[in-house]
């Protein structure tokens, strides 16, 4: 059977790869749609992984958010002529293993990838005490103001620039730096 056959029906490979290609070319709406489609699968993936390793799934949503951040920050490592799902799986696994290691568990991750598991239809839980909120408060000066304004208060880059009296370019730079720093803080996490 030709390999293409595998990607019919349930597998989102083709659709996701197209959204990712559009996103990388600058289409923010497509990119957002992709991340929204990925999130429910990540949720199930994180819950499965955490339960299996005996950590408990109380903070699965933190893991989902950390994986989403990694997908975003490492998006340039997907080669557009290669399949998308193996790339996505590799990132999700890598971060889940990292989370387990930080909690002193052996990095045993479910063998099945994101595609084999059914998405969790349950809506994203309200996470008022999310890890990410704590980490944002540990960012320094400008990064913290910018990331809070955009990620927590939901302001646009433009509005944030106007509010803070910065250029849009400067806001973009500070925002991107802030996101990178957040990924680092996650990694250093737990200990702090």
């Amino acid at each position: 059977m030709p390999a293409a056959n595998k990607h019919n029906g349930a597998s989102p490979e083709t659709a996701w790869a197209e959204l990712m290609r559009a996103g990388l070319a600058g289409d923010a709406a497509a990119y957002r749609q992709l991340l929204e489609a990925i999130a429910p699968r990540l949720r199930k993936f994180a819950v499965n992984g955490l339960l299996r390793s005996g950590i408990g799934n109380a903070d699965a949503e933190d893991v989902v958010q950390e994986i989403l951040l990694a997908i975003h920050l490492k998006r340039q490592t997907w080669m557009q002529d290669q399949p998308f799902l193996p790339w996505l799986n590799a990132i999700a696994r890598h971060k889940l293993i990292d989370v387990m290691r930080r909690r002193g568990r052996r990095g045993e991750v479910p063998i099945e990838g994101l595609i084999e598991i059914l998405p969790d239809e349950a809506a994203a839980p309200e996470t008022s005490h999310s890890e990410l909120n704590k980490l944002v408060s540990r960012l320094d000066g400008k990064s913290q103001t910018v990331v809070s304004s955009i990620s927590l208060d939901g302001n646009s880059i433009k509005d944030t620039a106007a509010k803070l009296g910065m250029s849009e370019g400067a806001v973009r730079v500070a925002f991107h730096r802030g996101l990178k720093k957040l990924a680092e803080l996650y990694r250093a996490g737990e200990a702090a």
Binding site: A28, R32, L68, T77, Q82, W87, A90, H94
Partner: protein, 211 residues
């Protein structure tokens, strides 16, 4: 923070990106240029390089080191991708060592045994083992930087391959300077120097290439 809000803000960060492959090539070229500049400022090519180019041993050692650098480049570039556990290009890495082993065998056959030790020890051993790592420093720094933009599955292995590539670049340049052309010398001291850079890369990779 709700996950939907995070997603919205990631989309706002701008999904457009800087493709990794060209960046990787640029880092390797820039690293080579830095090493080349340092090479010209310090050792430079040997004075009789014109004649040396007509000798088989000189050409061979330069070509083997160049092959090491080029093959490592492609394997290393593959290893910046998170889904690559074992690069399909990995067998390429055997090319340089096999050629080197082959040349050692030929040297042992064609040269009488009492010349083996002098040829192995050579004249330049202290230079070789210090200058190759020195020339490799700038390429190593740049390769580690570009690996940080990537998502290597294993930080230690990624650091090691970055070190091997940097060592290969340093050794190619150094080969153009050195008078010791015997495969016995090259297989011993170049290998030692390149192994050192590879180990340094692995050590730094363990610290710098986690993500």
């Amino acid at each position: 923070m709700k996950t939907d809000d995070l997603i919205a803000s990631l989309a706002a960060d701008g999904p457009a990106h800087r493709p990794l492959r060209p960046l990787f090539a640029a880092a390797a070229i820039l690293g080579t240029l830095c090493a080349f500049a340092l090479f010209m400022l310090t050792l430079g090519p040997r004075p009789d390089v014109d004649q040396a180019l007509h000798t088989m041993r000189f050409d061979f050692k330069c070509v083997v080191m160049f092959i090491l650098a080029v093959t490592t480049f492609f394997v290393a570039r593959d290893m910046t991708r998170p889904e690559v556990t074992r690069s399909r290009l990995r067998p390429l890495l055997w090319a340089a060592p096999l050629l080197l082993i082959l040349s050692v065998a030929v040297e042992l056959i064609v040269m009488p045994p009492d010349t083996w030790m002098p040829r192995l020890i050579g004249q330049n051993m202290p230079y070789c083992t210090t200058m190759i790592p020195l020339f490799a420093l700038a390429p190593l720094a740049l390769m580690l930087w570009v690996f940080r933009q990537g998502a290597p599955q294993n930080p230690v292995r990624a650091g090691a391959i970055a070190g091997l590539l940097a060592g290969g670049i340093g050794a190619t340049l150094y080969a153009v300077h050195c008078f010791d052309d015997s495969p016995l010398f090259v297989a011993t001291w170049y290998t030692l120097a390149i192994t050192f850079v590879t180990g340094l890369g692995a050590l730094l990779g363990a610290r710098l290439l986690r993500w």
